[in-house]
């Protein structure tokens, strides 16, 4: 963006927000402050070294026209690698089965998620990226279709429900 356009756009946004001159100055000082330590937590497909925090409920947008919820539950002996899942539309389960997940490095360079629905063909996704909290809880996963070559482009997401 050209400098003059950036300046104009910033002025217009600040006018719209109604921020005071003091608040603008404070923002400017904070942006320059070395104390600014936002929690990053994002891991790319090759950086996901553990998926023990995967269990839980997520919004699941594999079908863009029908966003559903998915619940992952690890089996007791395979926490971090295998368990069962259920995809629901409201209270109605539309798909159930087993899943396996692989962090990067354990025989694969990228993190992978395998869904095997009961009586259906397995679907494989690359975990293209994930926000993972300090306690290992996965909050957002970006999922890409598996292919053996080419770029990893997220197709949909799983977002942890509160």
């Amino acid at each position: 963006m050209p400098t003059d356009a950036l300046t104009r756009a910033t002025d217009e946004l600040l006018t719209a927000t109604g921020l005071s001159t003091e608040a603008v100055a404070q923002l400017r000082r904070t942006a320059d402050s070395p104390r600014l330590l936002p929690g990053g937590g994002f891991h790319t497909a090759t950086q996901i070294d553990s998926l023990v925090g995967l269990a839980g409920d997520y919004l699941w947008s594999e079908n863009l026209l029908a966003v559903r919820t998915i619940t992952f539950a690890f089996d007791p002996g395979t926490v971090g690698s295998a368990g069962t899942y259920s995809i629901k539309a409201g209270p109605l389960a539309v798909e159930e089965g087993s899943f396996r997940c692989f962090p990067a490095g354990a025989g694969t360079s990228v993190a992978l998620l395998f869904l095997r629905p009961t009586g259906g063909p397995e679907r494989i996704f690359i975990i293209a990226g994930a926000f993972i909290e300090a306690d290992a809880t996965v909050t957002i996963m970006l999922l890409a279709d598996f292919n053996v070559a080419g770029q990893i482009i997220p197709r949909f997401s799983a977002v942890r429900l509160p």
Binding site: M1, A5, L6, T7, A9, T10, D11, E12, L13, L14, A16, T17, G18, V24, L27, R28, T30, A31, D32, S33, R35, L36, L37, P38, G39, G40, F42, T44, L59, S61, L64, V67, A128, G129, F131, I140, L142, Q151, I152, I153, P154, F156, S157, V159, P162
Partner: protein, 157 residues
């Protein structure tokens, strides 16, 4: 030394006509402002041109909605229209956004509903994909001198 020699060797081997080389150079220069894919922290948001599209919108964590951003054709990167829906349209208006900038440093996104008051958030981070699209936009608030993420917008389409 070696890079220049290798480039010349490569171009010679490729037998590209000079005008093709010039066109490639122009294409490279035109795409230079684009950003690398991956995570970008709050002080690493040089452009928001990858914003257009639909996102899951978690402003109210108990009522997840879908927001669609479309830049005005003459204001790509900083202003356009948005529609917030939950099966039906619940809000629409004008959005403004700025990347990191000299005035306040932080990138911001503001929504001004038609006939309503502006809500604005500093952008605490984003994830971009290899197509330069924003995959996740983290919207924050200041707690003391800390910028913390309050909610995320996660791309649908």
């Amino acid at each position: 030394m070696s890079i220049d020699v290798t480039t010349q060797d490569l171009l010679h081997a490729a037998e590209l006509p000079p005008e093709t080389g010039d066109a490639l150079r122009a294409l490279f220069d035109a795409t230079a402002p684009l950003i690398a894919s991956g995570y970008h922290g709050p002080l690493d948001i040089p452009t928001l041109e990858g914003l257009p599209g639909s996102y899951l919108w978690f402003e109210n964590p108990l009522v997840v909605r879908v927001i669609r951003f479309t830049f005005d054709s003459d204001k790509v990167g900083f202003q356009g229209r948005y529609t917030l829906s939950s099966g039906f349209t619940v809000e629409q208006g004008t959005f403004r956004c700025v990347p990191n900038n000299p005035a306040i440093g932080f990138a911001f996104l503001g929504l001004t509903p038609d006939g309503g008051a502006t809500r604005a958030w500093p952008i605490s981070g984003m994830v971009t994909d290899p197509l330069q699209r924003i995959a996740v936009l983290q919207l924050g608030e200041f707690v003391g001198s800390q910028l913390v993420t309050r909610f995320a917008a996660v791309r649908l389409v």
